[in-house]
């Protein structure tokens, strides 16, 4: 498992919704070794404040040595990151964590909500590549409103997979939660992959459990190091101990974790 601390160059920064941005970084070592579901830790400040790196899922990689992250401005770190300029240098550490287990037989049902859509593009792409046949895969994406989704759809559409959308306000696709369209869409023998807000993932996990379908979830946690050194990113596991999201995750079998719905 190779990891790198690279001085990445900003290749592109795009603003989608009001607070949603997509950042393309040139960091060839990380790009070539990244797996879907893994993440990077990025230094947002040049000074000592904010001090810690911020974790972001890898949205996709390019053969030219680029990686993309898709993020929302929620605080100071993401605010600074949203203001980077082309050609600026940014320190990126990665790839980190355990990604999705891919290439399984049967249809892949990929369920992303909100920022949880970020890792799903890389996942869908790579899974297709590994499985060769992916015509029965299905992508379900949910967001609050249309403009949080539409800019991302283009890249997903290019994969040629079946794609359904849902928005809380009905401005695009199904009017309601993405879990509502998922419920009836689970073919036998499928595997569900999900990332999104905790309640959404808990719900997805529960649906899968009740139907006996395997479900991989990508979860978050506060992180200081992202590489197993600080033990800060603990999360209660099913067996009563703690698991460390940066090392044992961020992807888990839904059953390994404790969920409060």
């Amino acid at each position: 498992m190779s990891q790198y601390q690279e001085k990445a160059t900003v290749a592109r920064i795009e603003q989608f919704a009001n607070k949603n941005f997509r950042l393309t970084l040139h960091c060839p070592q990380i790009a070539v070794s990244a797996k879907p579901g893994q993440f990077v830790m990025i230094r947002t400040a040049t000074g000592k404040d904010p001090l810690l790196r911020r974790p972001f899922s890898i949205h996709q990689t390019s053969s030219g040595g680029g990686i993309q992250i898709y993020f929302k401005v929620v605080g100071r770190g993401t605010e600074i990151l949203s203001q980077v300029k082309k050609d600026q240098e940014v320190s990126v550490l990665g790839p980190l964590g355990r990604g999705f287990r891919l290439g399984l037989n049967g249809p892949a049902i990929i369920v992303g909500g909100g920022l949880g859509i970020a890792p799903m593009l890389f996942l869908a792409k790579e899974n297709c590549r590994l499985k060769r046949k992916c015509s029965d895969d299905l992508i379900l994406l949910g967001a609050r409103e249309k403009n949080e989704l539409e800019h991302l759809l283009e890249d997903f559409r290019r994969l040629g997979l079946r794609l359904l959308t849902a928005t809380d306000d009905g401005s695009l696709g199904h009017h309601g939660f993405v879990t509502e369209i998922m419920q009836s869409a689970l073919p036998p023998g499928c595997t569900v992959y999900t990332c999104g807000p905790e309640p959404m993932m808990a719900r997805v996990g529960k649906i899968c459990q009740s139907q006996g379908i395997p479900c991989q979830v990508s979860v978050e946690s506060v992180m200081a190091c992202g590489m197993g050194a600080c033990l800060g990113c603990s999360r209660p596991a099913k067996d009563g101990t703690y698991t460390h999201v940066c090392l044992n995750g961020p992807v888990y079998d839904a059953e390994e974790l404790q969920w409060t719905i």
């Binding site: 601390q5 946690s221 200081a224 590489m227 600080c230 800060g232 603990s234 209660p236």
Partner: protein
């Protein structure tokens, strides 16, 4: 055991001594911030380190605190990991083999609830191949004394030091808590009790609140403050302690660069430890070593020892 590589005569001499332990350069990794070293193997050259200090080990495994365990603060962070660790026995069987292979002195940071526990851990570490030193974390609560930290009382601090010294077959460093009125009193007490070296500082006790939820930011409510924010306090205490005791002092607190490390050495530290900086820059300790070397070269120092305590005061 000799950890020294044959020394290049054109390079400045960076070796320093911590009691009977000679290390190749004055840079160690601070306990709890470097895992068991292996986590960093792909990102830096571990063989370059002066010493590795591992995450605090207790007699029995501890699961640690519920999340959230960490929160960022201005130029610093609070942690309340809750001393999660695998326990001394699994440490010896699971972690030491890899560490031993590094050919770098391994210093084991130990912690306990009682004198007996400190003593027993030390006893179990005695004779274990690869263990080059013990660092005693005395910031832990003494269960018998209603949870008052060993490190805030000179008598308890001395007692822990004595208990560990009794069983240890390697140099013993005692790591002081900064949450005291007069650090020199504690320093003198542990020196008198036989400490071979004194390391400081451990974290300052702090707290953060999440305003939207009106809850403490840490599940444990309070946590330990580390990072650049605490450097001025650490530097002051190192200066005070180095002028008080005659054993080597090891400086810790907010060190990110060679400049920071050299300041601690000027203040009287024989060596330093890199903590929180490892999280931000996994190569931090290696860069500090390189920077100290470059400084020694530029300043034409025959040995880095010549700057220890070299602060100019008129």
């Amino acid at each position: 055991m000799d950890y020294m590589m044959p020394r290049d005569k054109n390079q400045p001499d960076l070796r320093v001594n911590i009691g009977s332990l000679e290390i190749a350069n004055p840079v160690m990794t601070a306990s709890g911030t470097f895992g068991y070293a292996r986590e960093f193997e792909g990102l830096m050259n571990l063989h370059h380190l002066g010493a590795v200090i591992v995450k605090g080990i207790s007699l029995y495994p501890r699961v640690g605190n519920p999340p959230p365990r960490i929160v960022e603060t201005a130029c610093g962070m609070l942690n309340a990991i809750g001393l999660q660790n695998v326990g001394v026995d699994r440490f010896i069987t699971e972690k030491m083999p890899y560490l031993q292979g590094l050919n770098v002195p391994v210093i084991v940071n130990i912690l306990g609830d009682s004198l007996a526990e400190y003593e027993e851990i030390t006893a179990r570490l005695a004779g274990v191949a690869g263990v080059a030193g013990i660092e005693v974390n005395i910031s832990c609560p003494n269960v018998k004394k209603g949870g008052v930290a060993f490190g805030t009382d000179p008598i308890m601090a001395a007692a822990v030091t004595g208990a560990v010294k009794k069983k240890a077959d390697v140099p013993v460093m005692v790591k002081l808590s900064p949450n005291v009125s007069d650090i020199t009193v504690i320093a003198r007490a542990v020196e008198d009790a036989g400490a071979d070296a004194i390391s400081l500082i451990n974290t300052l006790i702090g707290m953060a609140i999440d305003l939207p939820s009106r809850r403490p930011a840490l599940a444990n409510i309070i946590g330990g403050l580390s990072g650049p924010a605490i450097k001025p306090v650490a530097l002051r205490m190192v200066y005070q302690v180095a002028r008080t005791v005659s054993v080597p002092v090891i400086g810790i607190g907010g060190i990110e660069s060679a400049e920071d490390a050299l300041e601690f050495m000027l203040a009287g530290a024989t060596a330093v430890q890199i903590g929180t900086a490892n999280f931000i820059n996994p190569r931090a300790s290696e860069e500090v070593i390189e920077g100290i070397g470059a400084y020694a070269k530029a300043e034409k120092l025959l040995s880095i020892r010549s700057i220890i305590g070299g602060l100019r005061i008129e």
